[in-house]
Symmetry: C2
């Protein structure tokens, strides 16, 4: 539900404390609803979440949003854009108070090439994200929502934060109305 990567979080903590790498990394804080990255914007930085949770979403031309994932501690942001030299493909918005490590895109490339641990952790993170989003897309197309909902609800219970119905429905790619209907029906069958 909320992805994290403690390995990368710990590594960043280490790099920040290290004399030779620490001054390339700064910290930044955001409040809920503030946006770290805005779709179609050119980026100069790469971020790694130190604490807090964000939503990563795509806004289509019809102004509707689709939430790809909720990203938490140790997740990296803006790396796809740094690698591909493109504008932001999605928007990153804080849904809790947020602290991120910040480095320039150039520095990111430098770390990636010169620090084997950083390189392999980031590579694995991106590969994992690709697998996750692929599986999510498949699940959403192949199952009816009433089959997906129970999984989502149990995933929600183990989370410490609560999501708005709006966010949940955008994560599922359905309207709030449909989500409400499903939740009501789920209740009835449980009783």
């Amino acid at each position: 539900m909320i992805t994290t990567n403690l390995q990368l979080r710990n590594l960043m903590e280490e790099l920040t404390g290290n004399e030779s790498t620490g001054n390339a990394i700064t910290l930044r804080t955001l409040q809920p609803k503030q946006r770290l990255i805005v779709q179609d914007q050119a980026l100069q930085s790469v971020y790694i979440i130190r604490s807090g949770v964000t939503k990563c979403f795509i806004t289509e031309n019809n102004e509707r949003d689709y939430i790809l994932d909720f990203l938490g501690e140790g997740e990296i942001l803006g790396e796809i854009e740094a690698i591909r030299h493109t504008r932001a493909t999605c928007t990153i918005e804080a849904i809790t108070p947020l602290t991120v490590y910040t480095m320039s895109s150039v520095q990111f490339h430098h770390f990636f090439k010169t620090l084997p641990t950083f390189g392999s952790v980031v590579l694995e993170l991106i590969a994992t994200r690709l697998a996750r989003i692929s599986e999510k897309a498949a699940r959403q197309q192949l199952y009816t929502l009433s089959e997906i909902l129970p999984q989502l609800l149990s995933a929600l219970e183990s989370q410490q934060i609560t999501f708005t119905k709006q966010d949940l429905s955008e994560y599922l790619g359905i309207s709030v109305r449909s989500l409400n209907r499903l939740l009501k029906d789920a209740d009835n069958t449980t009783i």
Copy 2:
């Protein structure tokens, strides 16, 4: 519609001809409907398409398939599994006669680390794939199919191969019946 990566294809051609790297790469040929990778299977190799087209799909527990993408020349296969040390997350099936370059997963990691060009091309390819599948997922959730279909049809026209209705509907994540209905309606509005 069909993704390709000529940069990687050319690079592989070069590496195959090169004395020091060539003997780590072999060629393999498949016929349409043959499977190069089967979901949940453990892999020992990484493949790069030399010629032909494949479909990359996920089979869910309800036996339905979702086609993530059609992969053509220069696309890499099995790299996610090599990076993450996991079993195959999807199945790769030839839909035309296919020739692939084959290398062991170990060799893949070695190339990635020691050949800067190979590393950066593969990294960029994976990043691009992540962006593509994210956009596809968003599009499928946020637009009605009648809005997506015209884009798909125009993409189809520029392709040299024809897809079965089955494949197209699995790419869209809908039933063949729905696809037929949409195609019929699209015709009527055009007339």
